[in-house]
């Protein structure tokens, strides 16, 4: 009996940090509509800064708790600075663009933390007076857990007072419920947004700081917590603080007990919970539906698709000619890099297909890339298949995953859809990661050899040409589809679901098949990738790879067809150039942030505006 009670209490105590982080994320999203990927980094900074402050202040009660509170405030200020210096410049950009900037912030903070606190994990200070254990019917519970359990309700009450008893809080609530109102605020908006970032980041910092005695501080905290925080926010319902509390408790308790019954499942348990909740309650436990037609679209309305003018076609031919001649002039390194670029360009184009014209944002597109990769790799390993048939059939696995996951995902919209794609991708990843007997788990599947004619040992040229032909054809095909009735119908469903229903379009079916087609294209990229690398790893399905694709699409420009290609080339190339430096993350992050500020409509959007007239792209009239 005591054991179970302790288990419940342990769950409650681990819900505390989760709730703090998630409530901050939820508040920031609710008011500013920024999907703040860097929120996990603020959590990590909270832990590190608290560590240093407690060292500085001494480990008495005042030093410990003072250090924690000051660390939270410091992190709040860092969040406010990020808002003022970076995000404020890109609020007018297309939806979700801001998340690229926050991705840059993650990278910068990672290397700063590495520089300041070193690579070693830090063991947290024990809380003075709470170092012992409490006996609960014969089972010990760390005393500090009781303090953690008390923190959530206190913060929850504080937030309730703030939102219901102060003018500022009332503004925050109003802004969360009614986007139009935010625009009408004028000058006050800047103040509201900065304040929101301060509060949200402070909560993340507090979350990181209070878990210090239990979990310490390490450099993986940011990514580890961010996925969980999103799950909590989405399960609870975007913008609902009480929902976040409920969800944090639910997930922490399920984890506490899940680990007893079925330890293998803990990696995906919360994603399974999210998937189930979203399937039955598409807006989370306590969330409310987004007003239809009001998905926070920013910037000018998207322009009609026009066929490429002659000069653009000629530029396209020139690029193909360049790629064809590349093997003559370039060495093997350049060819290998170009193979990567081509594969990621196709991957990004496949994501853009559903994300731009389809209006369905996927945070888990690596599931299909990895699906194609593992499809091909498994065929090589278990069916003695040759390269050609593995490449052709590999994407079938991606298609199956996209059909199954897509069936659920297309029923949602906006950020909820994005989070469900992420959940499914995590489920797929953990199956690959844990099913050692078949997938090789973390060790991956090695020795995926090319056919003799395309073998690396002799030369990269044949494989390079194969990749170029396949990727270019697939990208051209997807482009063609966008100009076809199918592509138009997909865009129709995005522009106005109401009108689409009213002219006989089966919106769900249209979206579902579009999602699947995009998954297959990502699968083709993935199956090429395993042969180019000679192996398949769970990384090919992981969240970071999904995020890479997202960054490529947004950085390039989601509102132009060339955007994903430009984004993939830029991102892959910069990453390749920079990753030779010691603190390459810092510089990559900085580069991303600068690109975001310089090109708020994406790089291709910028190019379209300034080079478009020369290429004969006519400027569309604006309202």
């Amino acid at each position: 009996m005591g054991f179970y009670i302790v288990q419940v209490l342990t769950g409650l105590s681990s819900a505390a940090a989760l709730f703090l982080v998630a409530s901050g994320l939820s508040i920031i999203f609710g008011v500013t509509r920024v999907v703040n990927l860097a929120h996990g980094s603020f959590y990590m900074l909270g832990a590190y800064i608290a560590y240093s402050l407690i060292d500085l202040f001494g480990r008495g009660g005042l030093g410990f708790w003072g250090g924690i509170v000051l660390a939270a405030v410091a992190v709040g200020m860092i969040g406010a600075i990020v808002e003022v210096l970076i995000l404020r410049r890109v609020y007018q950009a297309p939806e979700l663009f801001q998340l690229v900037a926050t991705f840059g912030v993650i990278l910068v903070i990672q290397d700063i933390a590495l520089l300041v606190w070193g690579a070693e994990d830090l063991v947290g200070h024990r809380a003075p007076g709470l170092t012992g254990a409490v006996d609960i019917m014969g089972t010990p519970l760390p005393a500090y857990d009781l303090a953690l359990i008390a923190i959530s309700p206190v913060v929850l009450a504080g937030l309730w007072l703030l939102f219901n008893r102060t003018r500022w809080g009332t503004l925050v609530r109003a802004a969360t419920q009614d986007r139009e109102m935010v625009g009408a605020l004028g000058v006050n908006q800047a103040w509201l947004f900065t304040g929101t970032f301060f509060l949200g980041s402070m909560l993340a910092g507090l979350g990181g700081a209070v878990q210090l005695p239990k979990g310490g501080a390490d450099l993986l905290m940011d990514f580890n917590v961010i996925a969980a925080a999103f799950v909590v926010v989405v399960v609870g319902g975007m913008g609902s603080i009480f929902g976040a509390f409920l969800a944090a408790v639910l997930i922490a308790e399920l984890n506490a007990f899940g680990i007893l019954v079925f330890p293998e499942i803990t990696l995906v348990l919360m994603f399974l919970v999210m998937a189930v909740v979203l399937i039955f309650r598409p807006w989370g436990l306590l969330g409310s539906p987004e007003a239809p037609g009001q998905k926070g679209q920013q910037g000018p309305p998207e322009q009609p698709l026009r066929p490429a003018p002659v000069r653009v076609q000629m530029a396209g031919v020139a690029v193909v000619g360049f790629l064809a001649l590349l093997p003559v002039v370039a060495g093997p390194f350049a060819l290998v890099l170009t193979v990567d670029i081509l594969i990621f360009a196709l991957f990004a184009v496949s994501l853009h297909f559903i994300m731009g014209p389809g209006g369905m944002v996927s945070f888990g597109h690596a599931a299909y890339f990895g699906g194609g990769a593992y499809g091909a790799a498994l065929l090589i390993h278990y069916a003695n298949s040759n390269m050609e048939s593995a490449m052709a059939l590999g994407p079938v696995l991606a298609a199956v995953l996209a059909l199954v996951f897509g069936w659920f995902c297309v029923r949602l919209s906006g950020v909820y859809l994005a989070m469900l794609t992420l959940a499914f991708a995590q489920v797929a990843w953990s199956v690959v990661f844990q099913w050692n007997d078949v997938t090789g788990g973390d060790d991956g599947l090695l020795y995926i050899v090319k056919s003799a004619w395309a073998d690396t040992a002799q030369s990269w040229v044949p494989f390079y040409l194969l990749t170029a032909v396949l990727c270019l054809s697939a990208m051209l095909f997807l482009r063609r589809v966008l100009f076809s009735p199918f592509g138009y119908a997909m865009r129709a469903c995005r522009d106005s679901e109401l009108r689409s229903h009213a002219i006989g379009i089966n919106v769900l079916e249209q979206r579902w098949l579009a999602f699947t087609l995009s998954g297959v294209a990502a699968g083709v990229a993935g199956s090429l990738y395993v042969f180019s690398k000679g192996s398949a790893f769970p990384d090919y399905m992981s969240i970071p790879l999904s995020f890479d694709a997202l960054i490529m699409v947004l950085l390039g420009g989601v509102k132009t067809l060339l955007g994903p290609i430009v984004g993939a080339v830029t991102f892959t190339w910069i990453q390749d150039e920079i990753s030779r430096f010691e603190y390459w993350r810092f510089f990559l992050g900085l580069a991303i942030i600068l690109l975001v500020i310089a090109f708020p409509q994406g790089i291709a959007g910028f190019g379209r505006r300034y080079l478009g007239p020369w290429f004969g792209i006519r400027a569309e009239e604006a309202q």
Partner: protein, 249 residues
């Protein structure tokens, strides 16, 4: 008889939005559904075109029962719809909006290779010509004036050669002169194609100028029905409208 509505009910929580509504509508007829704000007009429309499932009642459209059928299936049976707040495809040109409806009508939505912009151009232009939007066919829909958007909606609604047209406040948000023009246009089209039209409208000039018959809805219930002269004289209607507006029309 094109449409026979019998005993329609719909409640939202405690609000009985539509309460036992029955009426008939024949080909070539322009039937106005009027009533103060919140009377239940839009709710009626949403049941007729399938967006809402009625709590009870039947909707016969020729030989088909429409109650509870999905909007896209109702559209395929030949029911067109315009919305109170226009719903068009903002990233498409005016012509492409109509082409989109035509592609759906001709069941080409899953074609992956043909160029959509080259399909059904003549049909689309003919429809746009009919509503007076042919000269703006190439403009993006997102930049149109509101009155022009309403015309585009009308062209889109005509794309499937409907036998019944549902128009929820077709002239809301338009200038008075435009309103009369749009309703005159609608009346012409109805006459030439023998379509049945059900429309709601706040502008009494439009209602009494064009409707062949009028239904008056108040708090979900039909309180009067008849030709414009009869409705104008109806005491209950006068009471609902406080007499004022009906007098001069």
């Amino acid at each position: 008889m094109t449409l026979v509505v019998d005993g329609l009910f719909k409640a939202f929580g405690g609000v009985q939005a539509v309460n036992n509504v029955s009426f008939r509508l024949d080909a070539g007829e322009l039937l106005a559904l009027i009533g103060p704000n919140g009377a239940g007009k839009t709710t009626c429309f949403n049941m007729l075109n399938g967006q809402l499932r009625p709590d009870a009642g039947s909707i016969r459209f020729f030989d088909n029962e429409l109650a509870g059928v999905a909007p896209r299936k109702i559209w395929r049976l030949g029911v067109g719809r315009t919305f109170q707040i226009t719903a068009t495809f903002g990233s498409m040109t005016v012509r492409e909006n109509v082409q989109m409806a035509l592609m759906s009508y001709h069941r080409r939505l899953f074609a992956l290779l043909p160029r959509a912009a080259a399909l059904y151009v003549d049909e689309a232009m003919a429809l746009l010509d009919r509503v007076g939007m042919a000269d703006q066919a190439d403009r993006p829909c997102s930049v149109l004036a509101y009155g022009d958007l309403k015309r585009v909606e009308l062209a889109v609604a005509l794309a499937n050669e409907p036998r019944l047209l549902l128009m929820d406040e077709p002239t809301a948000g338009m200038a008075p002169k435009e309103r009369v023009e749009l309703m005159a246009l609608t009346a012409d089209i109805v006459a030439e194609r023998k379509i049945a039209v059900l429309f709601t409208e706040h502008d009494m000039d439009v209602v009494f100028g064009h409707a062949g018959r009028i239904l008056v809805l108040n708090r979900g219930q039909l309180i009067a029905e008849g030709n414009p002269a009869e409705v104008r004289e109806n005491d209950q209607v006068r009471e609902v409208y406080l007499g004022a507006e009906l007098g001069h029309a």
